[in-house]
């Protein structure tokens, strides 16, 4: 079994603290390129900015397996300079405006420090206090000397932390997937040809993965992502039946979401591997949401897909929480699965 060593924590910290808002993923891309180059047979950055890595298998005609993780995160874009250090902004990707007021952000390539403010409670009326503030009426405050340009990206300023069995950070969605793919490349089994896509623009519509899959033309694909857990207790004493996933219960294998019905052959295969290797796993509850698998599945003449996610609480907020054990079990489930993959997996019974 693979373990999570100090180096991997350091790498995940670096990945999480980098800014990589959809469409401007340069910071994470540079880290990825540096990590993958010593291990890859081929590396290229495609037209949209995704990093595409090939690790050849041995033998004739090895199964071509695409692993995808997205490098981008939700964040903000500066859209207007109001002068005096105030900047109007818009959300990039799905962000709940209720998460925003009172948060520290970093803006632009230089990570200029800013804050999203709101009227203090002393001055707010009763009606203002009972309704959410809209993004239109928020500003990023950089102070009178703070510089930003229209189109600059911004993200939460939260720094990565390890707290006991947990990690806390912005952008665990999906730097944890990025870290896992890099580690899988370092331990790539020889029986398959690995096509790794560190893709761009997932948060705004699975865009990078779509063209990456067109390029690779794989036999099958696994999207490695991070999914919300809503596993808090129900304080009225009812059973929580809509948790999506639970922290500490292992990698979440997908069965269906709004973009994909995961291929039942791949779902059963992953489940069997987990049981055989005694790796804790859970099924993500079928429901809304989507991963890059939705786009990959529909490229060219079709690709069998499944998604696997590390669960985390408080998705798309300034700070998410994940468990190190879930990270480790996800890495091992995928590693064990890759080692056992053969063409038989894709026979229609």
């Amino acid at each position: 079994m693979l373990s999570i060593d100090k180096q991997q924590f350091k790498l995940l910290e670096k990945l999480c603290n980098a800014m990589s808002v959809s469409g401007d993923e340069g910071e994470v891309r540079r880290i990825v390129l540096e990590e993958v180059k010593p291990y890859a047979d081929e590396v290229k950055v495609d037209a949209l900015g995704s990093v595409l890595v090939l690790k050849k298998g041995s033998g004739k005609n090895p199964l071509k397996v695409m692993l995808d993780c997205h490098m981008d995160e939700v964040g903000f874009m500066i859209v207007h300079d109001d002068k005096d250090g105030f900047f109007e902004f818009e959300s990039v990707g799905g962000i709940d405006p209720r998460h925003l007021v009172g948060k520290q952000v970093i803006v632009g390539k230089d990570h200029v420090a800013g804050v999203i403010g709101a009227k203090p409670i002393h001055l707010a009326s009763r009606s203002e206090l009972s309704s959410a503030v809209s993004v239109d009426s928020m500003r990023i405050d950089l102070g009178p000397e703070g510089k930003a340009k229209i189109g600059d990206r911004a993200t939460f300023a939260t720094k990565f932390k390890r707290v006991g069995p947990s990690i806390m950070s912005k952008a665990i969605d999906n730097r944890i997937g990025v870290a896992i793919l890099i580690e899988l490349l370092k331990h790539a089994p020889k029986n398959v040809e690995l096509c790794l896509a560190f893709s761009v623009q997932e948060e705004i519509g699975l865009r990078g993965a779509k063209v990456a899959a067109h390029y690779f033309e794989p036999d099958l694909a696994i999207a490695v992502d991070s999914t919300p857990a809503r596993d808090l207790p129900d304080y009225e004493g009812n059973e929580n039946i809509s948790y999506n996933t639970k922290l500490g219960f292992g990698p979440a294998i997908y069965v269906a979401n709004s973009s994909t019905i995961d291929d039942p052959r791949l779902v059963r295969f992953l489940e069997d591997i987990a049981i055989k290797e005694k790796i804790q796993y859970q099924f993500r509850q079928p429901g809304g949401g989507g991963t890059d698998a939705g786009a990959i599945q529909k490229t060219r003449a079709g690709v069998p897909v499944v998604s696997v996610s590390v669960p985390h609480r408080y998705t798309h907020s300034p700070i998410s929480v994940s468990r190190v054990d879930d990270w480790k079990n996800t890495l091992n489930l995928l590693h064990s699965a890759l080692k056992k993959m053969t063409r038989d997996l894709l026979v229609h019974k």
């Binding site: 809509s242 269906a256 779902v267 060219r300 003449a301 079709g302």
Partner: protein, 333 residues
């Protein structure tokens, strides 16, 4: 035709889980086809090659989807009750009291949480499947398991009723057209597609793989001939409907002309269909690669997406005749 339709409609086949129905259809078409294969997403691709010496054969794709709506388990609670979500267009008002069957053969009934507003239809989240279990441990299904609706085939003479006429009736028309098509000047691909109900996904990828010159889908459409139905001219028994448009596609006028010309020449009844909502596999086929001229032949169907979908056998046989006539002669569009 009716015994085959009974088998087709009673076979389990929720979207993404089409293995059983694919086996049934494969058995039927294998002796009739020149080539049968299954692609990456499970589409069954059945080819009838052009007759020897055929000039300028067109590659024609005809799609009928094999999948049906269904449900999927989201959670089994501590008392063994099964919470679920829909696969495809599952409308809560059609569910209470219904029966479902899982791939592993387990059956269950759909129950409702009590409500103090009995006139309102509760959402799926207030429903559950009772499979007769008493706790989580002895419940024979788990999160992610898939079930289809259960209802036996009903023969009312000309009118036929089943839980999955959408779109097993299209599959039947495709099979019977293939059976009746002795020879064709075209390179014909009958595609029994997967995952239509959740976004015409199988049609998109199979059309990419086939790269047809033109094509059409065979699917059900709505009806305007029961009490209270308004503003939709299609009725059961008046012939297959030739689609002009639906919610996701404008049929290529050249394909519409081809269909109408052929129907009139053969003195076959047909109806013109203008559907405002909903769409078919043709929607996806139209937009692959550099684009494909497409249309759709619809079988009028009452009570779509309920367990009692009704069609008229005469519309079915006339659709078969129309398609055979279309495929038997050269076409230029």
């Amino acid at each position: 035709m009716k015994p085959l339709l009974k088998t087709l409609t009673e076979t389990f086949s929720p979207s993404g889980y089409e293995d059983e129905i694919r086996k049934v259809i494969t058995k039927e078409v294998k002796p009739l086809a020149d080539e049968v294969r299954v692609d990456a997403l499970g589409n069954l691709i059945v080819r009838k090659k052009p007759a020897k010496g055929a000039k300028d054969p067109k590659k024609i794709m005809i799609a009928a989807h094999m999948d049906e709506i269904g449900v999927m388990v989201t959670h089994v609670d501590s008392n063994g009750f099964v919470r679920f979500t829909g696969i495809g267009g599952v409308y809560p008002r059609n569910l209470p009291g219904g029966h479902v069957r899982f791939a592993n053969g387990v059956s269950g009934v759909i129950g409702l949480e009590p409500t103090n507003q009995p006139a309102e239809i509760p959402p799926l989240s207030k429903m559950f499947i009772d499979v007769g279990a008493s706790d989580k441990k002895n419940c024979p299904v788990k999160t992610g398991d898939v079930a289809g609706f259960e209802r036996s085939f009903l023969d009312l003479g000309d009118k036929l009723v089943a839980k999955s006429m959408d779109d097993r009736i299209g599959c039947l028309v495709a099979i019977e057209a293939l059976r009746a098509l002795k020879s064709t000047p075209h390179d014909v691909y009958f595609v029994f597609t997967t995952q239509e109900e959740i976004g015409t996904r199988g049609a998109q990828t199979s059309a990419y793989g086939i790269d047809p010159d033109l094509g059409f889908s065979i699917d059900v459409t709505g009806w305007g001939d029961t009490p209270g139905q308004k503003d939709f001219e299609v009725a059961l028994g008046k012939g297959p409907a030739i689609k002009i448009r639906d919610g996701g596609m404008l049929s290529d006028p050249r394909i519409v002309d081809w269909m109408i010309r052929t129907a009139e020449k053969g003195k076959l009844p047909y109806q013109r269909e203008v559907l405002l909502g909903g769409t078919t596999d043709a929607h996806a086929m139209q937009l692959v690669r550099g684009g494909v001229p497409v249309g759709c032949i619809s079988i009028p169907c009452r009570y779509v997406h309920t367990p009692a979908e009704m069609v008229d056998i005469n519309d079915v046989t006339n659709a078969v005749k129309l398609i055979v006539a279309m495929l038997s002669n050269p076409v230029s569009i």
